[in-house]
């Protein structure tokens, strides 16, 4: 076994250690520890990504002395390593961009606790990405949920506490449903390891026994994760939770926390249930309809909104709708488009949140549209950042949003039954996106004679400016060099399907030996 293969386990453990130690550190020490941690974990993910992509392998990492069905296990392919790297980059940039706001929003005695939450959140995201065991996934879903509640309420005013309570209730409902589903799956298959469950599920489907409980288990797990990732009818907690928390929290929540759950759902679809079983269960039609509704109603809510941050939050509902519509199309191409959209949305949404905080800074802290008039002239880099994010959300070429829309459209053509609704709603949703995002861009670029609001230049906010520049470069790179990324996703998804067979044979042989 090569040394590189240890890195995923190391990075999860390092995050947990950093979280534990941060609870007794001083404010600045915790801050630096967190920054260094994210960079180290990112570097490790690069190494793992290079290793898996160049060797074109998927390997299983056994956590402890006992092999798979008895002990815990990680499973690392290039898709997992790439996602981990991506999460690290977004988290680092979000934290850097919101650092000045964090100073103002959070009491200084609570800063180290904030970084505890961030470190543990990163560990849970990594574990969700890497794990090959459903129960490990559930344990880290718990950590993720509690950390997200903490991130919302760390800025203490009435609205964030209300939002945190709302988020907690909805999210715990989702966790409970996920746990129920896992219990049922365990009862039906006798395993918690993803590959073994898959094998048993295939035999159950072939025999035709336990049809009802299997369907219910699939439905409960899907609904649970859909609640946690704010699919359309379950999105009531979202605008307050994202809109009123401190900027870094909002960026991390919208671009990482919900995406972690979606990634877990993808793993469950491919590795636990098998794509065919999931496809035949009919749940994908529900996903398709709710996804389409989300794309439209999320945008309508965003158009009606007068508060810039709540508008961006509502746009998340629409974008999550895109991702679930991709699941609902039920083809591999659509799944690739969904995963690409996870990346594209994560970059642009965190960029939008950070940039909008820069715009509100120069408008008397008001988040109201009217007060934002001309804000892009007062804070130039924030204006440019917001424009890039908005153009990407609308789907202008050269930006990542365009590529994902193109991929969705191409994928929907391959599905005869769902092509027409998918294409029509995609078109409507694009127009609606354009209405509210371009309205905002035009608003912030209207010149206005206003001496009362202060102007912030690049030099006064170097860290913020550099972060936004990095964000812009990153999103342009994602949009203009999309082909290698799409190829990587395709390679990763194919390995998700094929490799489950030799793995099970290996385990069968091992169990026979004992």
């Amino acid at each position: 076994m090569e040394f590189v293969q240890n890195f995923p386990a190391f990075s999860i453990m390092l995050c947990l250690f950093a979280g534990i130690v941060s609870s007794v550190l001083k404010k600045n020490a915790a801050k630096w520890l967190n920054t260094i941690l994210i960079i180290v974990v990112g570097a490790m993910s690069v190494a793992v990504l290079y290793y898996t992509a160049s060797m074109n392998t998927v390997y299983v990492y056994q956590m402890g002395r006992f092999s798979a069905p008895w002990g815990n296990e990680l499973r690392i392919g290039c898709l997992e390593a790439g996602t981990a790297l991506f999460f690290c980059i977004i988290m680092l940039l979000s934290l850097l961009g919101g650092r000045t706001h964090l100073e103002e929003d959070v009491e200084s005695s609570r800063h180290n606790l904030y970084y505890v939450l961030i470190n543990l959140l990163l560990s849970s995201l990594l574990a969700l990405v890497y794990t090959n065991d459903l129960f490990t996934a559930y344990v880290f879903v718990e950590i993720n949920t509690i950390a997200a509640c903490g991130l919302i309420m760390v800025r203490q005013n009435g609205r964030t506490i209300e939002a945190a309570i709302r988020y907690m209730i909805m999210s715990l409902l989702g966790s409970g449903m996920l746990l129920l589903g896992i219990c049922m799956l365990y009862d039906l298959t006798g395993h918690l390891l993803m590959s073994n469950i898959h094998e048993q599920v295939l035999s159950i489907v072939a025999e035709g026994t336990y049809k009802v409980p299997l369907l219910v288990a699939i439905a409960i797990i899907s609904v649970g994760l859909a609640i946690k990732s704010a699919l359309f009818p379950f999105h009531a907690w979202l605008p307050d939770a994202y809109g009123y928390s401190t900027v870094s929290s909002a960026a991390i929540l919208s671009s990482l926390v919900s995406k972690g759950y979606i990634f877990l759902l993808i793993k469950i679809i491919y590795r636990v249930l098998g794509f065919e079983v999931f496809h035949d269960s009919g749940i994908i039609n529900v996903f398709f309809i709710f996804g389409l509704c989300g794309m439209i109603f999320g945008s309508f809510s965003a158009i009606r909104e007068n508060d810039i941050k709540r508008m961006i939050s509502f746009s998340s509902v629409a974008q999550i709708g895109y991702i679930y519509m991709g699941f609902g199309l039920g083809t591999k191409e659509a799944m690739i488009a969904s995963i690409y959209h996870i990346f594209a949305h994560a970059v642009c949404k965190s960029l939008l949140f950070i940039a909008s905080s820069g715009l509100t800074d120069v408008s008397n802290r008001s988040r109201h549209f009217v007060d934002l008039t001309g804000a892009a002239y007062r804070n130039k880099i924030a204006g440019v950042g917001f424009t890039v994010g908005a153009l990407s959300m609308v789907g202008i070429p050269l930006f990542p949003g365009f590529i994902s829309k193109l991929l969705f459209a191409q994928a929907s053509i391959l599905n005869h039954g769902k092509m027409l609704p998918a294409l029509i709603v995609l078109a409507i949703s694009t127009i609606l996106n354009a209405i509210y995002f371009l309205k905002t861009v035009i608003r912030i670029y209207i010149p206005v004679e206003n001496g009362r609001n202060l102007t912030i230049t690049f030099r006064q906010q170097r860290l913020f400016g550099v972060t936004l520049l990095l964000f812009i470069v990153f999103s342009l790179a994602l949009g203009s060099c999309s082909q290698p990324i799409v190829d990587l996703i395709r390679q990763g998804l194919e390995s998700e399907i094929i490799s489950s067979i030799p793995n099970t044979i290996y385990q069968l042989a091992q169990s026979l030996m004992i």
Binding site: M13, G19, R65, F135, I146, L180, L188, Y210, V216
Partner: protein, 320 residues
């Protein structure tokens, strides 16, 4: 010959005064009109409340929420629909349970090689008589470390929500702790004095015997925490702080979690790389047996006890 005026006469004329006023040399008001300095406009609190009350009254008049028929209907319908939905969901889930394999049947899917190995070779492989401890702390050690971190992050969140700084803490503890609590209740104190040592010893026993008998870090830690809470309830926070204050709490918690993490990291990497494990399993049934189970149980016990007591103290007075 032009008529020359005396300067004194000229200064009395209107035109002189007018031009002087235009050129700004003299303000005709100063000295002639009584003036007061301007004060800032102040709104009295009463008028603010009155105005708010009026606004609320107008809103109530226009949107008559209490007597709005459609709204009341909607609220009633909402409640009925919620109850119906919950009942339907419960019904469907119960229906699903009836389709699940029957409990206790030997041919059930969950009676497979996994459970078989835990039961048959668990003692030999982990050195733990208590199969459950062997399973959660050796076979599935990673899950349990995650679970311990759930407790840790829960305390962190409660701290963010409820922790107050030193100064308010002292004021509050004077005011709040003395109200409502019967101070120095002699029955409670005598009982606590008698019980607390036994509770603590029992907690330690449960932790240390986790590999041999039912119990372990989670249950033993809960007992320790309960003992601490009983002591703090009987004698107040101050005497408890002599041996369990914030410093002790921090040291105990961080060292316990870090030690667990180190043992876990060692165990995972050794196992994954197929290297020799240097922790002996010991003789089953002895205190020093079970490989990594005993040290992990101690760490988990400390962490759970700290968490229990920290929750109590934070909810009670906002600090340790």
């Amino acid at each position: 010959m032009s008529k020359l005026k005396q300067t004194q006469d000229y200064e009395k004329t209107a035109s002189f005064k007018f031009f002087r006023w235009i050129s700004g040399e003299k303000d005709p008001y100063i000295g002639t009109i009584e003036m007061q300095e301007q004060s800032e406009h102040q709104v009295e609190d009463d008028t603010i409340t009155e105005r708010m009350w009026e606004k609320q009254m107008i809103i109530d008049e226009i949107y008559d929420v209490d007597h709005n028929r459609i709204l009341t209907k909607f609220h009633k319908l909402y409640k009925i629909a919620a109850v119906l939905f919950c009942v339907a969901l419960t019904f469907f889930l119960l229906l699903t349970v009836s389709y699940l394999p029957r409990t206790g049947n030997a041919a059930n899917p969950d009676n497979n090689e996994v459970a078989q190995r835990y039961i048959e070779s668990g003692l030999q492989e982990t050195g733990a008589v208590n199969i459950v401890s062997g399973m959660i702390l050796t076979y599935r050690a990673f899950d349990t470390f995650g679970e311990t971190n759930v407790l840790f992050i829960a305390t962190v969140c409660v701290m963010i929500l409820l922790m107050v700084d030193e100064k308010t803490l002292e004021e509050r503890s004077e005011a709040r702790l003395n109200s409502g609590r019967i101070k120095d209740d002699i029955i409670l104190q005598m009982t606590a004095k008698f019980l607390v040592p036994f509770i603590l010893i029992f907690g330690i026993y449960v932790i240390l015997n986790g590999q041999n008998s039912p119990g372990g870090g989670f249950s033993g830690g809960a007992i320790l925490g309960a003992g601490l809470i009983l002591y703090a309830n009987a004698f107040g926070i101050k005497p408890t702080q002599r041996f369990f204050n914030e410093k002790v709490y921090r040291i105990a918690k961080v060292s316990a979690l870090c030690m667990y993490g180190c043992i876990g990291l060692y165990y995972y990497t050794m196992g994954a790389n197929h290297l020799a494990d240097h922790i002996p399993n010991g003789i089953p049934g002895h205190i020093l047996s079970g490989g990594i189970i005993l040290p992990i149980d101690i760490c988990v016990g400390l962490e759970v006890a700290c968490t229990m007591y920290a929750f109590y103290a934070l909810f009670k007075r906002g600090g340790l």
